[in-house]
C-alpha cells in the first residue's frame, strides 16, 4: 500500500469500505499546539520601542508558550474542527428542556451594527439613547408576554436569572421582617439549577414528590408549606412536558403561607401568547433568551436570562435597569446591588428583540402552538411503540417517554440515544427528568417541518424495531458513524488531563 501526500492509503490493495462514509471530508485535526508554534502569527503588528518608565519592574519573565497560526492555517484549523460538531443548522436537536430552535441570521446581522456592537458600557449615557431605548422595548415585550410588572434584564444565563429572582425574594422577606424563612420547596422533577440556586443562596431544599400523573399536587405543596418556607421553585409547563393543572391553586397556597412563587421559565416556549405567567400568580420567572427567543446556543453559551418580577418583588430588582428612559446604576431603597458588571447581555438583547419584532405578537403565539403541535405529533407517532409514563393525553412542547419498551432487549436508554447518532440525529434528553426511569424527553420545537418530523419518527421507530428484534450490537457499539466512537468518560475523570502538555523531549 502506498500513501498519497495527504497521508491516506491509496492505490490497489486499499480495502474499499462497503459504502461511502464521508470520512474523507472529516480529517482528524491535530491540536493548535501541535500545528502552530510561538513564531507563527496571523496578525500584522509593528514591533515598537517602549519609551517612558511606567512598567515598575513588572515585565513578564514567565514564558507564554502560546502557539500561533497564520491566517490560512487558522481558517483551516477552525473550519476542520467545526465539521466535527452537530448543529441546529445541520439537523434536528430533539433535546427536551433545551428548546433548540432555528437561529435567524437577521439577529446576527443586527447585533453586529456598530451602533450596538461598538458601544462601550461606560461611555456617556447621553451617547447611547438608542441602546437604552432598545432595552426599554425588550422589557416591554417581556412584560407584556408574561403579564408582569417589572423585568431585570441583566442576568447572563438562566441560572443567573434564578439567582437574581431568588435574591429579590430573600430581600423582600428580609424587608418585611420575616427572618426565619430558610427553606425553598423544589419538586423532584426540577432542573438541577433550581436546587443548586436555592442552596447557593443558603436555603435548605425541601423536595416535593410528583403525583403519579407527573404533575405537582397542591395538597403536597400545602403540606410542605410553613412559616419556614421562603418560596417554591416550580417549572411550568413542567419538565415532564405537562402544564401544571393546579398552578393557580398552588400560587394561592404559597401566597397564603407568606411565601413567594418562583417559576422556572425554561419551558416558556410552550405558552407564549397563550398563557401569561403573571396571571397565574407567579412572582418571578427567568426567561432563557437562548431558548425561547432564538439567540444561538454557541456550543454552550453565551445565554441571557432576564427575570420578570411581580409588583411585590419589583422594588428589589438588582441594578442596573432602565426606568422611564433613565439608566439607574446605583442601588437605592431596597434594590439589590449588581449581579454582574455593566448592563447585561446587550448582544443577546438585540438578537431577541429582532426575533420578537420579526414574529410579532401573533407569530409568537403561533410559534408556541406549533411547538406544542410538533411535540404532540411526535408523541402520537411514537406513542404506540415507545412507552408513555403518563398516558397518551396531550403534552405541551415536549413529549416524555420512558425505557420500559426496551425491557429485555439488552439495550439501555444511553445505547438507544447513541444509536440515534448513527441515524443522523442528535440524541434526545436522557435520564431527565429524574422522576421517570430511563426518561427520554423529546422537544422538537416549532422550527421542524413535517417532513423532518416524519424522518425523525421513522428513524426512531426503525431503531425500536431493531432493538426488539434482538439487534443489541447495533446499539451497544453505537455510534459507529460519528467522528468518534463512545468516549471513555471514567478515564477522563480519574486521570484528568485538562490542558495540553508538551511531550517530554
Amino acid at each position: 500500500m502506498s500513501m498519497n501526500t495527504q497521508g491516506r492509503p491509496t492505490g490497489p490493495g486499499t480495502a474499499a469500505p462497503a459504502t461511502a462514509s464521508g470520512a474523507a471530508l472529516l480529517p482528524d485535526e491535530k491540536l493548535l499546539f501541535e500545528i502552530g508554534d510561538t513564531g507563527h502569527s496571523g496578525v500584522d503588528l509593528p514591533e515598537v520601542e517602549i519609551g517612558g518608565d511606567f512598567l515598575g519592574g513588572f515585565e513578564r519573565t514567565a514564558p507564554l508558550a502560546l502557539a500561533g497560526l497564520t491566517e490560512p492555517e487558522a481558517m483551516r484549523h477552525y473550519v476542520r474542527l467545526s465539521r466535527l460538531n452537530y448543529s441546529i443548522d445541520g439537523g434536528m436537536y430533539p433535546l427536551g428542556s433545551c428548546t433548540m430552535k432555528h437561529n435567524p441570521r437577521l439577529n446576527e446581522k443586527m447585533a453586529r451594527l456598530p451602533g450596538f456592537a461598538d458601544i462601550h458600557p461606560l461611555q456617556p449615557v447621553s451617547t447611547v439613547a438608542g441602546a437604552l431605548a432598545l432595552m426599554d422595548e425588550l422589557a416591554h415585550w417581556l412584560m407584556t408576554l408574561t403579564g408582569t410588572a417589572a423585568v431585570c434584564l441583566t442576568p447572563k444565563a438562566g441560572a443567573h436569572g434564578e439567582m437574581a429572582g431568588m435574591m429579590a425574594i430573600r430581600a423582600a422577606h428580609l424587608a418585611s421582617g420575616a427572618n426565619g424563612r430558610n427553606v425553598v420547596l423544589v419538586p423532584e422533577s426540577a432542573h438541577g439549577t433550581n436546587p443548586a440556586t436555592a442552596a447557593f443562596l443558603g436555603y435548605a431544599v425541601r423536595t416535593i414528590p410528583a403525583r403519579a400523573d407527573g404533575t405537582v399536587d397542591v395538597a403536597a405543596v400545602k403540606a410542605a408549606l410553613g412559616s419556614d418556607v421562603a418560596a417554591i421553585m416550580l417549572t411550568n409547563p413542567n419538565t415532564c412536558g405537562l402544564f401544571e393543572p393546579e398552578v393557580i391553586e398552588i400560587a394561592a397556597a404559597v401566597h397564603a403561607a407568606g411565601a413567594y412563587f418562583y417559576c422556572d421559565g425554561a419551558n416558556f416556549n410552550a405558552i407564549m401568547g397563550v398563557v401569561r405567567p403573571g396571571d397565574l400568580g407567579i412572582d418571578a420567572m427567568h426567561i432563557n433568551l437562548h431558548k425561547t427567543f432564538s439567540t444561538p446556543h454557541g456550543g454552550g453559551g453565551p445565554g441571557a436570562g432576564p427575570v420578570v418580577l411581580s409588583a411585590a418583588l419589583a422594588p428589589y430588582a438588582p441594578v442596573p435597569f432602565v426606568r422611564a428612559g433613565e439608566l439607574v446604576e446605583h442601588a437605592e431603597g431596597g434594590h439589590l446591588g449588581r449581579i454582574a458588571a455593566f448592563h447585561g447581555q446587550m448582544g443577546m438583547y438585540v438578537r431577541a428583540l429582532t426575533y420578537m419584532l420579526s414574529h410579532g405578537g401573533d407569530g409568537l403565539a403561533q410559534a408556541a402552538r406549533d411547538a406544542v403541535l410538533n411535540a404532540n405529533y411526535v408523541k402520537a407517532r411514537l406513542g404506540g411503540t415507545f412507552s408513555l409514563p403518563y398516558g397518551d393525553g396531550p403534552c405541551m412542547h415536549e413529549a416524555l417517554f420512558d425505557d420500559s419498551f426496551l425491557a429485555g432487549t439488552g439495550v439501555t436508554t444511553l445505547d438507544f440515544a447513541k444509536a440515534m447518532i448513527d441515524e443522523g440525529f442528535h440524541p434526545m434528553t436522557m435520564y431527565f427528568p429524574l422522576v421517570v426511569h430511563g426518561a427520554m424527553l423529546v422537544e422538537p420545537t416549532e422550527s421542524e417541518s413535517l417532513q423532518t418530523l416524519d424522518q425523525f419518527c421513522d428513524a426512531m421507530l426503525g431503531l425500536a424495531a431493531a432493538a426488539r428484534a434482538g439487534d443489541a450490537a447495533r446499539f451497544t457499539g453505537a455510534p459507529t458513524r460519528a467522528p468518534r466512537r463512545r468516549l471513555d468518560e471514567t478515564r477522563a475523570a480519574r486521570q484528568p488531563r485538562l490542558a495540553w502538555e508538551a511531550p517530554a523531549a
Partner: protein, 447 residues
C-alpha cells in the same frame, strides 16, 4: 411567518394524526382561568426589511466607538478583532451547536475548549483553567466562594483597586456579609491592605493593572496571605496586559480570574463577555463551571469530553460548587481564535503597542494645563486629575464627538475625593490624531 415551516393544510393533517380537532384541544390541560382570552397587545409580524429599518434607527442614535476619538476603558476595551474571527464564529457548526454533552458529535467544540483551557493556563501562568464563566466580575465572585471552600475560612479582603462593579458583584453574591472587608475605592488615603490579613482570612483579591491603571505588586500580596494560610486571587480586566506583564501564576497567585473580552469580542455595551478562571491542579475539585478533558474512544483514538461534572448542578443539584450551567462558549471560541492568530509573537507585539500608545497619551496629557497624571505605573490605562469636576468635562467633550474616558464619580458616587478624576485607556486603535484632538479638547474645556 418566515420561521414557521407548516402550512395550514399540514397543521390539519398533523392534528388528524394526533386525533384532535383543533390546536386548542392540545391546551386542554390549561385551566380556562389561566388562558389569555385575547391576543397580545403587541405589534404583528413584520418583513425582514421593516425589522432591519427599526433596529438600524435605534443603532443609529448611539455614538459608536469608531465614530471619533475614543478613550473609554475601565473594564472593557476597544481592540481590533481580525475579520477571520467573526467569520469563523458565525459558521453554523460553532454558532448553532448545543452544549457538548454528546461528545461523539461535539468534538469540534470540545477540542476548542481543551485548547482554550490550555491557552488560558499559559496566559495566566497557572496549571489549569475552566471552560469559561459569564464574565470577569462573576468569575471574581465565584473565585471568592471557591477560596472560602478551599480554606474553610470566611474573611475575604477586596483591594480598593478592584473595579467597583466587581466589588459590588462580590458583595451581592455574598449578601453583604460582614466577613467581606472592602478597602475604600478612592485612591486617596488607602492604607496598606496587607496589614488587615489575619488567620481567618480566606483570600485577598488584588486587581492588576488596577481600576485606576496602576500596576500592583502581586508577589508581596502572595507572600503576605500565604504566611497566614490564605489564598491570593488575582484579577485582570485587560488580558492584553499579560503579553507584557508578569504572569500572576509566576508571582504566587492561587486563583486567577480575567475578563477576556479584549480578545475576539466586541464592546457590545457590556456583554456578552467571557470570564476566565485558572488555578492550581490541586484545587480543581472546588472549581465551578465546565471542564473539558482528554480521553480516548472505544477504538483508542484521542478525544475530548466534559469531565469532573460531579462538581456541577446537573449531577449534584443542591450540593454543586455553583449553580452555573450555560457559560460563554462562543465568546471563548472568539477569544481562542484571536489568541491563536496572535500567537506568542503577536500577543507580545500587541501588548507593547498598547503600552506605547498609552505612553504617548500620558505624555500628551501631562502637557495640558489643568491635567495631572496620577500614575507612576500603567499598562494601557491611567487616571488623571482635572482642575474641574470631571463628569461635566467628559460630557462637554462627548458633545464634540470625543469620548474622553470614564469619570470615576460614575462608579464611585458620593465621594467628593474622586469628583475630578477621569480614567482613560489607549489601545492599538488610538492614533496620534485622536490624542491630539483629546488634548486640544481638554485644554479648551479646562480654560
Amino acid at each position: 411567518m418566515r420561521y414557521l415551516p407548516h402550512t395550514e393544510a399540514e397543521r390539519a393533517r398533523m392534528l388528524a394524526t394526533i386525533g384532535v380537532g383543533a390546536s386548542d384541544d392540545l391546551f386542554a390541560a390549561v385551566p380556562p382561568a389561566a388562558r389569555l382570552a385575547r391576543p397580545l397587545d403587541l405589534p404583528p409580524h413584520a418583513p425582514e426589511f421593516a425589522v432591519e429599518a427599526h433596529l438600524r434607527a435605534l443603532a443609529g442614535s448611539n455614538h459608536a466607538a469608531g465614530d471619533g476619538p475614543f478613550f473609554v476603558g475601565a473594564g472593557a476595551y476597544r481592540h481590533h478583532v481580525p475579520a477571520t474571527v467573526d467569520h469563523l464564529v458565525q459558521r453554523s457548526e460553532w454558532l448553532t451547536a448545543y452544549t457538548p454533552y454528546q461528545p461523539e458529535v461535539s468534538q469540534g467544540t470540545l477540542q476548542m475548549l481543551f485548547e482554550f483551557q490550555t491557552q488560558v493556563a499559559h496566559l495566566t501562568g497557572m496549571e489549569v483553567a475552566n471552560a469559561s464563566m459569564y464574565d470577569g466580575s462573576t468569575a471574581t465572585a465565584e473565585a471568592v466562594l471557591m477560596a472560602r471552600r478551599l480554606t474553610r475560612k470566611s474573611r475575604v479582603i477586596l483591594s480598593g483597586g478592584l473595579h467597583p462593579h466587581y466589588r459590588d458583584v462580590v458583595r451581592t453574591y455574598l449578601d453583604n456579609s460582614p466577613a467581606l472587608i472592602c478597602q475604600g475605592a478612592s485612591p486617596a488615603g488607602q492604607g496598606d491592605i496587607l496589614e488587615r490579613i489575619d488567620d481567618d482570612t480566606a483570600a485577598i483579591v488584588i486587581q492588576t493593572p488596577d481600576f485606576y491603571g496602576h500596576l500592583r505588586d502581586l508577589k508581596r500580596a502572595a507572600d503576605a496571605i500565604h504566611a497566614r494560610g490564605g489564598l491570593l486571587i488575582a484579577v485582570v480586566t485587560e488580558v492584553v496586559s499579560l503579553g507584557l506583564l508578569e504572569a500572576p501564576g509566576a508571582l504566587g497567585a492561587d486563583i486567577v480570574v480575567c475578563e477576556g473580552q479584549s480578545l475576539g469580542n466586541p464592546l457590545s455595551f457590556g456583554g456578552p463577555y467571557v470570564g476566565l478562571m485558572a488555578t492550581r491542579k490541586d484545587f480543581i475539585r472546588q472549581m465551578p463551571g465546565r471542564l473539558c478533558g482528554e480521553t480516548v474512544d472505544a477504538d483508542g483514538q484521542r478525544g475530548y469530553v466534559l469531565t469532573l461534572s460531579t462538581r456541577e448542578q446537573h449531577i449534584r443539584r443542591e450540593k454543586a460548587t455553583s449553580n452555573i450551567c450555560t457559560n460563554s462558549g462562543l465568546c471563548a471560541l472568539a477569544f481562542s481564535i484571536h489568541l491563536a492568530l496572535l500567537g506568542e509573537a503577536g500577543l507580545r507585539r500587541l501588548a507593547r503597542l498598547n503600552h506605547a500608545r498609552a505612553v504617548a497619551l500620558a505624555t500628551a496629557l501631562r502637557a495640558v494645563p489643568g491635567v495631572e497624571l496620577l500614575n507612576r505605573t500603567f499598562f494601557n490605562e491611567m487616571t488623571i486629575r482635572l482642575s474641574r469636576p470631571a463628569a461635566a468635562v467628559v460630557e462637554t467633550l462627548a458633545r464634540n464627538g470625543i469620548l474622553a474616558g470614564v469619570p470615576v464619580s460614575r462608579l464611585v458616587p458620593g465621594d467628593r475625593a474622586v469628583d475630578d478624576l477621569v480614567i482613560l485607556a489607549a489601545t492599538e486603535l488610538t492614533t496620534d490624531a485622536d490624542i491630539a484632538a483629546l488634548a486640544a479638547g481638554l485644554a479648551e474645556a479646562l480654560k
